[in-house]
Symmetry: C2
């Protein structure tokens, strides 16, 4: 007999749709909320419903923002002449931890024929227009070092080459703290190719 009330089962079902959340975890989270205060529930519920309300894409870099122009693009201390092209907003969060002082361009995804995502689904037109207008010193292609990332990087590199801008790709090699012994051969090959003189 299903003894779980409908509103409880509804939340279990909704939570179980999230990636990495199975039915057991969804149950556990739901009953945690049930035991918690009404305030907790309201906080979470409203945060979910408000998530997209004020969100738009930055008119310059296409990152998610709640203003017309995002905080990075507004910041006068950042170098607008260096554009780091990433696929996702979370990649910007990652680069911000490094102390990088240039600007960004967020593609909003990666070219993936398997998932039916083509160049037109990404903010590539916006990037081209921006490069044409702003004539930056350097465009850093910072997609993930996997098949789709390399494909997207190559595609963009070919598109912007005619504009005579310096195009770079982030280094691929051994991660800091990594172990040579366990590195795959492609990574090792890249780390040899990318070796630098002292």
């Amino acid at each position: 007999m299903n003894v779980i009330p409908k509103s409880v089962q509804d939340l279990i079902d909704e939570l179980a749709k999230l990636p990495g959340v199975g039915p057991k975890t969804a149950q556990r989270l739901t009953f945690y909320l049930l035991r918690g205060s009404d305030e907790n529930i309201r906080g979470l519920g409203e945060a979910v419903l408000n998530l997209k309300k004020a969100i738009k894409y930055c008119a310059l870099c296409c990152n998610l923002t709640d203003e017309e122009i995002c905080r990075v693009c507004q910041d006068k201390s950042r170098d607008p002449e260096i554009i780091c092209v990433v696929s996702e907003p979370l990649d910007v969060v990652a680069f911000e931890k490094t102390g990088y002082k240039g600007s960004y361009h967020v593609l909003g995804g990666i070219i993936s024929p398997v998932e039916g995502i083509g160049p037109d689904d990404l903010f590539i037109k916006e990037l081209l227009l921006r490069i044409k207008n702003a004539k930056p010193k350097e465009v850093i292609l910072a997609m993930n070092p996997d098949l789709e990332g390399e494909t997207t990087a190559l595609y963009i590199q070919k598109l912007i080459q005619p504009q005579l801008v310096k195009i770079t790709r982030i280094a691929r090699g051994l991660p800091v703290g990594g172990d040579l012994e366990y590195a795959d051969e492609v990574t090792l090959t890249r780390s040899l190719e990318g070796r630098r003189e002292y």
Copy 2:
């Protein structure tokens, strides 16, 4: 620089409050929702907000329900003379998978001095009253076989003993599929004590 818009950060913060959800997972889930449809977001948000709206405690067994009397207590095919006392609604879900045909009583927690939960915080008074009125054949104490569960079981056993009802405790022993070699000595001792003749 914090580049995450406020509404996005709000949801990350709220999700990170859930047990087992760290800031990284909260970020991943939030951006998953951002990429998803508005319908998904509305579904989850409303499920959270509606969670407790129609929920009350069953007037008989104190389980969570959206009716006055829960589905198990309403079911005429169940034996009201056997009451299985559990600590949480999820324990009822677990027992329902076994084909158990008696009724339940949900305590709504476990006696835990460490967390400041005493007998008065649980539905123990309701259990006593129910036993006094309904005079069941048997009360099964089905709390977890841990320190707090045993304490709670012992406490309830002493309280209802004067009512001359048969009181049992679920068996403790080796789990099915378990391995003797890796069993702890307390479990093994219990499995010896609880041995049964063929």
